[in-house]
């Protein structure tokens, strides 16, 4: 018995040893394979060894079925040309927290996406990113493509070096009129005679009537307005966003402690901003009237999307970029009448002043920062690919697809094929092709030399035709608009972010800590101001009390620092010019 027990134990130990050895030898092999190609020429030309398959992990929050880039048509071409494959790793949850955790643990991917200037600053200060200055000198098309951006990107780092590139820039204003206001259900608009809603009073009256006329929708209780406030950017970003709807301010400063006054070229405090106050007051009224969904404060995008897809919400605040997808779902579900369209909103003061809306045109886009980290095994191969992505060949393939399949040339201009148009309403088909799967190589919202945007669906002449459903186009037509952007273009003007988009206070400094505190204060008290006051007078009284507490934090020191940095960086930019 004892002998057989010993034999069994020995077998288990031997099995474990073999298992461990097998795993380690695999790891060694992988490690060797990734080490070997590192011997490259300084010029960036890869040696034969470097052409071994190079798999790079890309963190993604897109819920897609594609696991590796070589499952897509464009990905196959990239693999053929560079033998590089991207492995998409799903990273659900709070991405900003993940970036911080990865930084703390030193476990960041080879190519990293960062979504704000403050986190980028943390990565730069922690010495985790590779400088790209030499690369730019050897990649003329990259330098040309980002000629406006590169000086601004350099300003974003504390040592003046270039560490990043960004997606979504450069932008041609006409291709991307970025207006995200209120998604409104078209059947309710029809019921009330297609009103051109604009003021906050208009919305309250409209939604109250809408809820009265439609107590239920498709068998479920109707909800007045939905907002995903529980997202990390929810209460922090979109509860205060009313400031961008009228004149003066744009979102160039992000949604932290300050707002950017586009007209006077200066930063101002966000919490005390009059439009921010009006925005909170608007939400308070919606809450009091029972229009604002009480689940908004606990709803994340999943719950928000579910309510939108069911059609039971009469309106949605700010998150309107998924309206077309939701509308396709509603059509498929047999409720085409419940489709939504994006409509403008303005506060009372904004209505009175009637100033031109400052529609942000991003010269830099801190939301889609990309960088090569020091964990990159073969940075030269990544740079080689990056340089190619900036060429005409790269840009056209990544954003327009293949000639003959996705576009044809008519009178020297690209014209989307029927297959391309069909794919636009099918996210899976777009991903199978590879569109949107390589944004980390840089995607531009500007025009190609033929005058057509690299992403053809952005062409203003056919944008609505390609991006909206028929029901949406009809609704705009009933409102008397010539296009979905008609009102906004007539009443707004382009507002280039310039240097303002690159400013951030040193996150490790005392002022950086204070900046975080004032943001925290605003986030915590915004919910209180929306929920607690029972009358306008109570709102005013509570607001004054909150502001009195807020002033004790001395937020003006942070605002002053932002303005000082702006002046300093603007002077540096002028010198560079």
């Amino acid at each position: 018995m004892k002998a057989s027990y010993q034999k069994f134990l020995s077998s288990v130990i031997i099995f474990c040893l073999l298992f461990v050895t097998a795993c380690s030898s695999n790891a060694t092999k992988e490690s060797n394979s990734s080490e070997s190609p590192s011997s490259q020429s300084p010029s960036g030309q890869s040696s034969a060894a470097a052409k071994e398959e190079y798999v790079i992990k890309i963190l993604t929050q897109e819920n897609n079925q594609i696991k590796r880039s070589d499952e897509t048509e464009i990905g196959k071409m990239i693999k053929e040309k560079f033998n590089i494959v991207f492995d998409y790793v799903q990273t659900p949850g709070n991405y900003a927290d993940k970036l911080n955790l990865m930084l703390a643990g030193g476990d960041y991917p080879e190519i990293i996406r960062i979504q704000d200037n403050a986190t980028f600053d943390k990565y730069v200060q922690a010495n985790t990113l590779l400088p790209l200055d030499d690369f730019v000198a050897s990649a003329p098309e990259f330098a040309k493509r980002y000629s406006v951006q590169i000086p601004l990107w350099r300003l974003a780092s504390n040592d003046g070096k270039l560490y990043k590139w960004e997606g979504g820039v450069p932008v041609d204003f006409k291709n991307n009129v970025e207006v995200l206001d209120i998604g409104v259900r078209t059947d309710v608009l029809e019921q009330q005679g297609w009103p051109n809603l604009l003021s906050t009073d208009d919305y309250i009256k409209f939604l109250k009537q809408g809820m009265k006329d439609n107590p239920t929708t498709n068998g479920q209780k109707t909800i007045g307005m939905i907002v995903p406030f529980a997202e990390p950017w929810g209460m922090q970003g979109i509860s205060s966003i009313m400031y961008e709807k009228g004149g003066r301010y744009s979102t160039a400063a992000g949604n932290m402690g300050v707002v950017w006054n586009q007209v006077d070229k200066k930063f101002e405090d966000m919490m005390t901003n009059e439009y921010v106050k009006e925005g909170l007051g608007f939400f308070n009224r919606l809450y009091r009237e029972g229009i604002l969904d009480k689940d908004s404060f606990t709803d994340k995008m999943d719950q928000f999307q579910e309510k939108l897809n069911s059609g039971r919400a009469l309106s949605s605040w700010y998150v309107v970029w998924g309206l077309t997808t939701a509308n396709h779902g509603l059509i498929d579900a047999g409720h085409p009448e419940n489709q939504y369209i994006n409509m403008p909103v303005r506060s009372k003061t904004q209505m009175e002043r009637n100033e031109k809306r400052q529609i942000r045109v991003e010269d830099t886009r801190p939301y889609t920062i990309y960088a090569i980290t020091k964990n990159a095994k073969h940075p030269e191969r990544i740079k080689e690919l990056l340089a190619w992505a900036a060429t005409e060949e790269g840009k056209l393939l990544l954003q327009s697809g293949v000639e003959g399949e996705d576009y044809t040339i008519v009178d020297g201009k690209r014209q989307p094929t029927e297959a391309y148009r069909k794919n636009l309403s099918n996210v899976d088909a777009l991903r199978s092709k590879g569109y949107g799967m390589f944004d980390f190589l840089g995607s531009v919202l500007s025009n190609a030399p033929d005058g057509v945007p690299y992403s053809m669906e952005l062409n203003p002449a056919i944008q609505d035709e390609l991006q909206l459903t028929e029901g949406m186009r009809n609704a705009y037509s009933k409102l008397g608009w010539t296009s979905s952007k008609d009102y906004f273009i007539k009443t707004g003007e382009s507002a280039n972010t310039g240097v303002a988009g690159t400013i951030t206070v040193d996150t490790t400094s005392d002022l950086g800590a204070l900046h975080q505190k004032i943001v925290d204060f605003r986030v915590k008290n915004s919910a209180k101001l929306i929920i607690e006051p029972k009358t306008d007078e109570e709102f005013e009284s509570m607001y004054q009390s909150v502001i009195a507490d807020y002033q004790k934090l001395k937020p003006e020191t942070v605002v002053a620092e932002y303005n000082r940095l702006y002046q300093e960086k603007q002077a540096r930019l002028n010198e560079l010019k």
């Binding site: 200060q125 009480k294 309510k307 975080q516 919910a527």
Partner: protein, 313 residues
């Protein structure tokens, strides 16, 4: 005769060491694990006393002394709601979890049909394996004010006019967290009490039965006193964790409307340490938390020793 130069006690100890060498060898991995994963990381406490940030060597960071510790109490009054929330929720949870597990074990022990007893035990044990993220999703689906199944049903039946906001209303936050903890851990915690009941000699029950004690009296005079030593040990051990909150639970359930009743020390440390990368401040708060926990543990142990004569040290 004792050999010159070797103390008799030392000789007994070394003989004991040799005799039990296999036992000590078996203990060694556990000691090493505890040392490596619990004591070595304590060197990281140095971060609280220097101006550290990721990317710079710890030893070259500027010395700041007790600045972070003082800052916690003087810069803001955050510590007031943090300590209040942490203590209120954790003490209530501890009492609720232990009481329900205690009662549940007693009631389960009284079920004579063993299969039914095992079924109940398995069903109540199951929530322990459900992750907090799933619990959050379920809670959202069940208790959301406008779209939650329970609120929708109650409104449809005319029981309530408006949904109860369990997830967002700070008035319900503590109660809701405690209730979820009870639901999740009752089955798991009761296992310890069930095993303690099985250790009570059946002779006591037989003697009581002969003396005419009914079922309730047997519970009152045999089962409960028999469980008390286990309950006290569990109470003392758990009191050391009284400032430790279940991170996932609070991370998921804290939102913009209930934060003033939900923000606990662990979330605060996470926020400053990992979200804002203010490691020195977060470490200082963590150190204070450790020392307060240690003091609470010692106090509870002493109280127990004096009140019941039972203690763990």
């Amino acid at each position: 005769m004792i050999k010159a130069g070797v103390h008799p006690v030392k000789r007994v100890k070394s003989r004991n060491l040799v005799r039990n060498r296999y036992l000590y060898a078996m203990l060694l991995p556990a000691v090493l694990l505890v040392f490596v994963f619990w004591y070595v990381p304590l060197t990281g406490w140095l971060i609280a006393f220097v101006q550290y940030r990721p990317g710079i060597p710890l030893l070259s960071a500027k010395w700041t002394g007790l600045q972070q510790f003082i800052g916690f109490f003087t810069d803001t009054d955050d510590y007031v709601h943090l300590i209040r929330n942490t203590l209120a929720i954790n003490i209530s949870s501890l009492i609720a979890n232990m009481t329900t597990a205690f009662l549940f074990a007693i009631l389960l022990n009284e079920i004579r049909w063993r299969y039914f007893s095992k079924l109940i035990q398995t069903v109540t044990f199951f929530p322990f394996f459900v992750s907090w993220i799933i619990i959050y999703s379920l809670s959202s689906a069940m208790f959301a004010t406008s779209a939650g199944a329970i609120n929708e049903t109650l409104i449809q039946w005319g029981v309530i006019a408006e949904g109860v906001n369990l997830l967002g209303d700070p008035r319900y936050s503590w109660m809701f967290m405690i209730a979820l903890g009870v639901w999740k851990y009752a089955g798991y915690n009761s296992v310890i009490f069930i095993s303690a009941i099985s250790a009570i000699s059946s002779e006591y029950y037989e003697a009581a039965q002969i003396d005419g004690a009914n079922r309730f009296q047997r519970i009152l005079y045999i089962t409960i006193p028999g469980l008390m030593p286990t309950a006290i040990v569990l109470l003392i051990l758990n009191s050391g964790w009284i400032l430790n909150s279940n991170f996932e639970q609070f991370y998921l359930f804290t939102n913009a409307t209930n934060w003033q009743r939900m923000e606990v020390l662990d979330i605060y440390i996470y926020k400053y340490g990992l979200q804002l990368l203010n490691y020195p401040y977060a470490t200082a708060v963590g150190i204070m938390k450790t020392f307060i926990s240690l003091i609470i543990l010692m106090v509870v142990n002493q109280i127990s020793k004096k009140a019941t004569g039972k203690a763990i040290f």
